[in-house]
Amino acid sequence: MLNKPKEGGSGQKSHHIIQVKENIIQKFWFICAFFAVIAIAFILFFLINEAYPAFYTIGPLKLITGTTWDPTRVPPEYGMLPLIVGTILVTLGAMIFAIPLSLASALYISILAPYRVKLIVKPIIELLAGIPSVIYGFIGLILLTTWIMVAFNLPTGETWLAGSIILGIMAIPTITSVAEDAISAVPREYNEGSLGLGATKWQTISRVIIPSALSGITAAIILGLGRAVGETMAVLMVTGNAAVIPDPIWNIFSPIRTLTGTLGIEMGEVAVGSLHYNALFAVAVVLLVITLIVNILATFILDKVKAKQCGTKNCSIVYKERRKIPGKNVRLLFSRISYRYILILFISIFAFFINGLYTALFIVFLLFLLNFIIQKTSQKNIQKIIFVLIYCAILFVIFILGIILFDIFANGIPYISWEFLTGIPTDLGRAGGIFPAIVGTLYLVSGAILISLPIGIGAAIYLIEYTREGKITKFIRVGSDLLNGTPSIVFGLFGFAFLVLYLNFGVSLIAGQITLALMVLPTIIRTTEESLKSVPVSFREGSLALGATKWQTIRKVVLPPAIPGIITGTILSLGRAAGETAPIMFTAVVFTQRNLPNSLFSPVMALPYHLFILSTNVPGAQGQKYGTAVVLLVLVIFIYALAIIIRNHYHKTQKW
């Protein structure tokens, strides 16, 4: 019956048991994967449900295109345009700052750095990712805004520029580490093949390695973009938060207010059920739509890149048609050099609109000069120049990290004492210790990881190992991507509306844990998926051909080599969960909480929130601020160091 004629009944029975077990395991992973979709549906439903009255009362057009946002005016005005423009501008600025630095760092780490240097630099960049956003905001408020104020002689440094720089710094590690993974994943054979043909290192990088890793690099940039759009605390602390559209539009010294900032500032003080409350949920919906557009765009780009790489049928048709066209001029239009001229044209038009004819002419002259120099420079010198630029970029990134760490530790360590670590805050945090905040953060993070890790890994295993691409997988993947692009403050809002109010948990530890778990879930799913995908199919085939079951294959052959990648994903999640303020500020924390939580349903204090309140709402707590920042940083560094050590250990023992 079962193609095992020689085996007796007991053999068939055990075979049957194995099959049942396999089925149960598969069902379990399916449930995990489906959870991501349910979570998305719930979040969407609650946000739209709460936002609907605002759209209904004010009218969708007026709500979105209105140019004044002033809830305190009589009658209050809810026009979101300045917030939307603010979000777009601040993100754009951040990307201009972050993309070159990140890609240079990724190239350096994955290709140029000697092995030993790489072992040091890679964790440093990851460390930058671990620094909580509230610390960036804190440093931005203390150092960056002051510097901008003095350097440009402004009344205040809290500007669009400050927001963009801080956001850019925050996006660097995200883009770098994902892009670095993508570049490192390019098969060594491509590198050898190209070098073997006499291409220089830079030619190999720019023509073979980067095109091969392009989808990964695009994903990296979009992840960074997502982080920048959804960032709340740091932006809120440095952009000045005036709900105005910069005048003129490129005035980088104008204060600016983002969608997320608005939620962070106003959600805590709004009356539940009022029009203002509904309008804030409408802001969240718009924020979600923007991230949705970013995501769809990303998928679109990725598909195009893939199609181009594989040289699909469409591609060959285009090529054949092109060949039929008589004359070389048309073809020349598509050659590499002419792209440069098109780019020059665009930049000059842009410059013309911004600053008039002379600037445009000057820029065109400069660009042509540059173009001329590039064409006259030998490949070897081009390589030298580019590598020097890359070295400068990576040094700059490390320099930024150095400044942040130095400032915090130099100013904060003198305030650290046993009493500070174990005491209870007094005088609104100006004196006493931060013990409840430390314990609260530990509780929140461990709870969040305990909830999200099994579900996330399970969902990824189901998506990669158990399904062929079909409607259900697509649905689940879109759901998890959506969840991934969702800004953390939106999770906070959802937690507030669903867990705190609807389920009546109140502001509580459990509400915070679930909210944080939802927030880190997509990161865990995605990184686990990526590391599972990187395990060669031949491993699976080899195991299956030996008669191993699906689950045996996954457990013994696929998961072990994928573990370092999964751990990397968990590192990023842990760091995020420990440092996030936005998702917990409405769901779990109370500033005046002086006691430890005695149940899952009591509110807690947390380090990032404590630091946020001290830096923005409590004047004169200088020492306590720095002290709290040091503790938060040390905690995060400790988590990261631990995870990096574990990962490097695996890397050493498993080479294939």
Binding site: E189, S194, G196, G198, T200, S212, Q309, C315
Partner: protein, 257 residues
């Protein structure tokens, strides 16, 4: 009749030693390669034949902890010298790898890649080079109608011939082949072997192979290596019919390996 004038010595290895970390992989190698001849490197796994091959175009540069001394003279230049540009060397000494490694680009772009990185951008010229190289590599008839399709869709043997075409497009003087047939079936293998026969009219070909029959079929001279030492280097017929060293005889008669 082979006349003396045809025997141009194109590569001379002198006192070559190589270490990976602490282990010495090549021990005092001295040998000379003749232009327009096929030289085969044979020997059991780990004997250093691939390592030796990779020295000839400095591919060992990208291996961590690899240390070399000695000289390899190529047209009056020392390949191993610090001032020698490996890029320049690799342009003149092409390499075909064990596993076919086409880039994830179209067939056309794979072959055009080398000329492009060396500064040829004119479409017509590229088309000419691609066609010529593919013809030379005996692949043109199979792919001429699908040049714009991905190279990944070719069979293993076709991919390997594409990699050879890619190497030819750069117009090298020497072609190194690192077990080019070990991942191929017999038919694809015989096609590559025929190709090698044709190539030697224009190039110096140095091939590493595990397969002794292959070495005897394609090569003019054969070097037998063992544990990092060059044991014997002589015309192929002599190696296979009348080896001077006992080790060589043991190996080719299959007493170890």
């Amino acid at each position: 009749m082979v006349t003396m004038t045809e025997n141009v010595e194109i590569l001379q290895i002198k006192n070559l030693n190589l270490w990976y970390g602490e282990t010495q992989a090549l021990k005092n190698i001295n040998m000379t390669f003749i232009d327009r001849q096929v030289t085969a490197l044979i020997g059991p796994s780990g004997c250093g034949k691939s390592t030796l091959l990779r020295c000839l175009n400095r591919m060992n540069d990208i291996v961590n902890e690899c240390r070399v001394d000695g000289t390899i003279d190529f047209n009056g230049k020392d390949i191993l010298h610090n001032n020698t540009d490996p890029v320049e060397i690799r342009r003149k000494i092409g390499m075909v790898f064990q596993k076919p490694n086409p880039f994830p680009k179209t067939i056309f772009e794979n072959v055009a890649y080398g000329p492009r990185v060396h500064g040829i951008n004119e479409r017509k010229e590229l088309e000419r080079i691609v066609e010529e190289s593919l013809k030379h590599a005996a692949l043109w008839d199979e792919v001429k109608d699908r040049l714009s399709e991905s190279a990944m869709g070719l069979s293993g043997g076709q991919q390997q011939r594409l990699c050879i075409a890619r190497t030819l497009a750069v117009e090298p003087e020497v072609i190194l082949m690192d077990e080019p047939c070990s991942a191929l079936d017999p038919i694809a293998t015989s096609k590559i072997e025929n190709l090698i026969d044709v190539l030697k009219q224009d190039y110096c070909v140095i091939i590493v192979t595990h397969n002794m029959q292959q070495a005897s079929r394609v090569s003019d001279s054969t070097a037998f290596m063992y544990l990092g030492d060059l044991i014997e280097f002589a015309p192929t017929r002599q190696i296979f019919e009348n080896p001077k060293q006992e080790l060589t005889e043991n190996y080719i008669t299959g007493r170890f390996g």
